[in-house]
């Protein structure tokens, strides 16, 4: 088991290094110069060159990458080219709102997906199944940039229940969490339905029923437990996706999270901030997936043996 875990951690480190390398190269290769954005057009070429030297942007790309790696090894993410604040401070400001939104979206997704998925599996091919799966289809199909304003129109403008946008108390978390959570709920409920349907035809379920156990006990204690494996994997993947993919939701709801910071930094060509944001998101993604793999291996020994 320990060999399997070490192998997973080693793979994760390689992936993270790959991400660091690719992001560094890409952000430096895209057209657009941070010095131009910072100084505007009125600055003299001498001033531009001085700033370029100060920022270390005059050095060859390989040397810049080497320095970046060296600083990274000392947990120094650098300084924002624009605000001059340490990048770590910027991230510390932005992580809580993003984590808050991610957790709330997960909560919304669980609360919707489990009842819907279980109901659809139990009432297969009946109207409840069709309704639940239609809801699921809508959840997947409606993009966040449409879902967000629709929810705002209904709950903020027409009903006046929630604020339109911003991060102003927990009440302001509701609509962004619903927007982000609905799509995840849609995917999860379909996965739960499919897994449950597969498990419900197994012999041990028939045995449990033959022993006289009620539906709730059969589903709760026997079927759901075994149907959870693929669902756990999906949730692991989706947490990473939520962290990275909340950009649109954050923009619509003016939520001061990592997504907004990433987009703004890309537009300003603020290299250190972009690199740090993507590194953070990808590292989280990799850690969650590695943990998922490890948990999966623990739950199902056949998986680690086959590798």
């Amino acid at each position: 088991m320990s060999g399997y875990i070490l192998c997973r951690i080693f793979s994760a480190l390689i992936v993270i290094f790959g991400v660091v390398f690719i992001v560094f190269m890409l952000i430096h290769m895209v057209p657009g110069d941070p010095v131009e954005v910072m100084l505007g057009e009125s600055a003299s070429s001498v001033d531009r060159e001085m700033l370029r030297q100060t920022l270390g942007l005059d050095k060859p790309l390989t040397e810049q990458f080497y320095q970046y790696l060296y600083k990274l090894s000392q947990f120094d993410l650098g300084t924002s080219l624009h605000s001059k604040q340490p990048v770590s401070e910027l991230l510390v400001e932005r992580i809580p709102p993003t984590v808050e939104l991610t957790l709330a979206a997960l909560l919304v997704a669980f609360l919707m997906a489990f009842p819907l998925g279980i109901l659809a599996a139990l009432k297969k091919d009946r109207w409840q199944d069709t309704t639940a799966m239609t809801f699921s289809l809508l959840g997947i199909s409606i993009p966040n940039f449409l879902m967000g304003p629709l929810l705002i129109l209904l709950f903020s403008i027409m009903l006046g229940w929630f604020p339109v946008s911003g991060r102003d108390g927990l009440i302001s978390l509701v609509l962004p969490a619903l927007t982000l959570g609905t799509a995840l709920a849609a995917i999860l409920s379909r996965m739960i339905r499919a897994s449950l349907l597969e498990v419900l035809n197994e012999d041990y379920i028939r045995t449990a029923r033959a022993k006289g156990l009620g539906t709730a006990r059969v589903i709760g204690l026997h079927a759901l437990k075994n149907a959870m494996l693929p669902v756990v994997t999906l949730i692991g993947l989706q947490i990473g996706a939520l962290l990275a993919g909340a950009v649109i939701t954050e923009m619509v709801f003016s939520w001061p999270g990592l997504g907004q910071l990433t987009i703004e930094s890309i537009q300003k060509r603020d290299y250190p901030v972009v690199q740090a944001c993507i590194l953070l998101i990808s590292t989280t993604y990799v850690i969650i997936n590695t943990l998922t793999d490890i948990v999966y291996g623990v739950l199902d020994p056949r998986i680690r043996l086959s590798r």
């Binding site: 895209v30 057209p31 657009g32 110069d33 131009e36 954005v37 910072m38 100084l39 505007g40 057009e41 009125s42 600055a43 003299s44 070429s45 001033d47 531009r48 001085m50 100060t54 605000s83 001059k84 932005r94 709330a104 909560l107 919304v108 609360l111 919707m112 009842p115 819907l116 279980i118 109901l119 139990l122 409840q128 309704t131 304003p149 903020s156 006046g160 604020p163 339109v164 946008s165 911003g166 991060r167 102003d168 108390g169 927990l170 009440i171 509701v174 539906t215 709730a216 006990r217 589903i219 709760g220 204690l221 759901l224 923009m251 619509v252 003016s254 001061p256 890309i266 537009q267 300003k268």
Partner: protein
């Protein structure tokens, strides 16, 4: 516990409703701790479309930062209604061609309690001139040879060349000398002497300022999406929004009873630019055809919600340097005639590329221009890029057509910067690569003219000549428009769209605001 939960789940008659109810329950529980209800009505909120980058007057280049900096800091010089420089906190005398004396005429105190003196002015401008500061303003002021301070109220500027327009460049916010020496972080903890003092900046999208006269707090909240900004205004989460709204939003807001609005003609100049080194767009006849093919009035009416004025040149006619320029009127027949003379026809159409940013409004304008040019046998290929890429391409001359807007242009140095042959990027903003001896001569002649009125005559002559060259096709000056809730009064607009209106803005009654928010 788990079994009970599932039992309840399955036994529920309408599980669909059940899931919604649980979500609503959790939401209600989460909502108990709302801060908003505690703060409703206390702060006046201005919605802005992009966050300020820095609050350091020595470093700011973007419009939003500059507008906020104006509230926090004071400047030696301001601009009057016709955009002539007028005294800010100092009046001036030109003692010789290269010697200006400024005298502080207003007693001012910095927000940290120290009085503003001539030494603070000297320290500020010396910091701008110091290469280590890396101020983007340095290039404009690098003809300051030295600064002397005979007493606490007097500052002498000695120049290395004649510059009758020199006072117009002294619009940088004055920072306190003591904090400057200590390396204070003005970018996120500004200390000025203006009517507003910095309160807090918890996120770059939420900036709080306090008005010194009555301690009224203001929040400048960044809401990028114009639709969301409008919805927040309607619901009372914002009190004021200004500019950057699509025409349909402007029309909609004008119909809302609880919203008031003001508009003011603006000075921000939108134009269509050409690459004058490109073998196709360098042809003056073609540029004339394009100028005649554009129906600007229709674009202004339909795409800008009639919130713009037709432009003929860099400066509006109300500007003291504004010239009476010939209009390139809409005349598609004339355009077709020119195109025919150039050898094009319905079958043999011209293909041009048009670069623009990825801003939806700019793409919409590009699409309309594409449609109008199609009628004169020009097929336009629109290429939209994110701002960094677009701006980079424009500066490198990788374009045939593009459109941009000059914001906050008030002084005649813009002509050297944009049209002189020595101002090719990165040395300037001659993006179209215009190289014309007469233009260069007129600019140089005007710059060396010591008398302001004679200088104005030369600049007007230059504008007329530039208008015949069509290096730019002037499009429009977008109006400034502000929408605010009924309980807000005192806000006033200016031609450059600054936020100075906040100085006199008050909420009529806090009680009515809370009522508004709960309704």
């Amino acid at each position: 516990m788990l079994a009970q939960l599932f039992k309840r789940t399955f036994l529920a008659a309408t599980p669909l409703v059940y899931s919604v109810l649980i979500s609503a329950l959790c939401i209600a529980l989460l909502s108990c701790d709302s801060r908003q209800s505690q703060q409703a009505g206390a702060v006046i909120r201005l919605g802005i479309s992009s966050a300020p980058v820095t609050l350091d007057p020595l470093q700011a280049t973007d419009a939003v930062s500059s507008r906020i900096i104006r509230l926090i800091y004071q400047t030696l010089v301001e601009f009057g209604k016709d955009d002539r420089p007028i005294p800010g906190i100092a009046s001036w005398q030109q003692l010789s061609l290269r010697h200006y004396r400024f005298t502080l005429i207003k007693k001012s105190v910095f927000h940290h309690g120290k009085p503003l003196t001539a030494r603070d002015v000297k320290a500020t401008y010396e910091a701008v001139l110091d290469k280590k500061t890396g101020s983007p303003q340095r290039n404009l002021l690098n003809h300051i040879e030295r600064i002397e301070v005979p007493d606490d109220k007097t500052i002498d500027f000695y120049l290395s060349r004649n510059d009758p327009m020199f006072p117009a460049f002294l619009t940088i916010g004055i920072v306190p000398e003591d904090l400057l020496r200590q390396g204070h972080a003005f970018n996120n903890q500004p200390v000025g002497s203006g009517p507003f003092e910095f309160s807090r900046w918890p996120y770059d999208t939420e900036l709080y300022l306090r008005r010194r006269s009555d301690a009224q707090e203001f929040e400048l909240l960044t809401v990028k999406d114009p639709t969301i900004r409008v919805l927040k205004l309607l619901r009372g989460e914002l009190d004021i929004i200004q500019n950057n709204l699509p025409p349909e939003h402007i029309r909609y807001l004008k119909q809302q009873a609880q919203i008031k609005f003001l508009s003011h003609s603006g000075s921000n100049y939108s134009y269509l630019g050409f690459n004058l080194q490109d073998k196709i767009t360098s042809n003056l006849a073609l540029r004339k055809a394009i100028a005649h093919a554009l129906d600007k009035q229709k674009i202004i009416y339909y795409a800008l919600g009639n919130a713009a004025h037709n432009a003929r040149g860099f400066f509006p006619e109300t500007h003291w340097l504004g010239a009476d320029l010939k209009a390139w009127d809409y005349n598609p027949q004339k355009a077709l005639k020119i195109m025919r003379a150039l050898g094009y026809s319905e079958q043999n159409r011209l293909h041009l590329s048009y670069k623009t940013s990825s801003d939806p409004f700019r793409i919409r304008i590009a699409t309309i221009i594409q449609s109008q040019l199609k009628k004169v046998w020009i097929d336009v290929d629109i290429r939209s890029y994110d701002w960094g890429t677009f701006y980079g391409d424009i500066k490198k001359g990788k374009f045939q057509l593009y459109s941009l807007t000059w914001v906050g242009i008030r002084t005649a140095d813009i002509f050297r910067y944009v049209f002189h042959s020595h101002s090719l990027p990165p040395a300037g903003a001659n993006r179209g690569r215009l190289s014309d001896k007469i233009v260069d001569q007129l600019i140089e002649q005007a710059e060396t003219e010591a008398d302001l009125n004679r200088q104005a005559v030369l600049y007007r002559r230059l504008q007329k000549y530039l208008n015949t060259l069509l290096a730019y096709i002037p499009l429009w000056y977008e109006d400034n428009i502000v929408f605010y809730r009924q309980n807000i009064t005192g806000y006033q607009l200016s031609s450059d769209g600054n936020y100075d209106g906040l100085i006199n803005t008050i909420r009529v009654s806090n009680r009515s605001t809370i009522k508004d928010k709960t309704e």
